[in-house]
Symmetry: C2
Subunit: 189 residues, 2 copies
């Protein structure tokens, strides 16, 4: 039922994903869909949260929380860029709200806490990381300026990785509401 919708999105993008086209693909009258789904919005929200289930959650007893956090965001970035048609929907909805999104948020909080980030800072840090990841996924593969030829996948990935390192370094440096002189780790290489 939902898988057909996912296929449509993968093929034709968002604007091709209409209720009537979906019904056409299922050889069914358009209104028949409303026996399975309340809204088009509900349908899309379900698809968005389903995608987040593909993000691998790290082991709880991980040694280095910051490294685990970097891996988590990189994995999320990979999942999002693998489904570019869905990314604008995350932006339009300003993030997902489903159970998988909530779970990922809890994991991020646990990792930030494990890294010594105070709760009040963790809220900001989580926000920064989420916005950053979705934002970069949205821009992956598209030129930001007309004089720039489309960036290669590698280039987008490298830019994301680098800025992610910058943010994580900033987060750890201001971890406990104080400014230690890079006590934990300085970003080298």
């Amino acid at each position: 039922v939902l898988v057909a919708a996912r296929e449509m999105l993968a093929e034709g993008g968002i604007e091709a994903m209409t209720m009537r086209a979906l019904a056409r693909r299922l050889d069914v009258a358009p209104n028949a869909l409303y026996s399975h789904v309340a809204n088009k919005t509900d349908l899309l929200d379900a698809l968005l949260d389903d995608l987040l289930a593909a993000v691998p959650v790290p082991e709880p007893g991980s040694r280095d929380p910051i490294a685990a956090l970097a891996d988590l965001m990189t994995a999320t970035y990979a999942v999002l860029t693998a489904h570019p048609n869905l990314v604008p929907l995350y932006l339009a909805r300003q993030g997902a709200r489903g159970p998988h999104a909530v779970q990922l948020g809890a994991v991020m909080d646990a990792l930030l806490s494990g890294a010594g980030v105070s709760p009040v800072n963790a809220t900001e840090a989580r926000r920064v990381l989420i916005v950053h990841t979705i934002g970069f996924a949205a821009f992956a593969g598209a030129p930001t300026e007309p004089d720039t030829r489309p960036l290669s996948f590698d280039s987008s990935q490298r830019t994301f990785d680098r800025s992610l390192r910058w943010l994580l370094a900033g987060i750890t440096q201001t971890a406990g509401d104080i400014e230690p002189n890079q006590q934990s780790r300085r970003p080298q290489e």
Copy 2:
């Protein structure tokens, strides 16, 4: 002609901005609009680039290029958050392409160059800053997780400012394809 469209967007948001509603507001037949505008897409693109004209461009002979860059991004963030209905369009179009967008990109390049950032790194840095600014503008004022009550304006602003500082620190530290031991400035306070 275009000002009516801007008013509609300010009032009702994107989904209220339809060609037919715009024609209604102008007491005109829907197809009459096509004497002034090629497409709905063209109309929206024009609106997007117009908004960027409101971003103040810093003096060319500024002393501290990094501070000027921070001011530029903060000003852009302010302009975007002042027109929240337009921000999703920047995301959908993955940035603006008009003359004002090009000009701002050139200013950013000049500032990055003035800060000692090599051209190859400047391309990445500009991309990071643009994505970051638009991304945060998109999420300003909306909770990223259901258990979070809507963030205050101040909180959004502070999160943006802080992450902007992190990114600028990261950019300057890796300025010339080498890793100086924070020769230029370490983020203190």
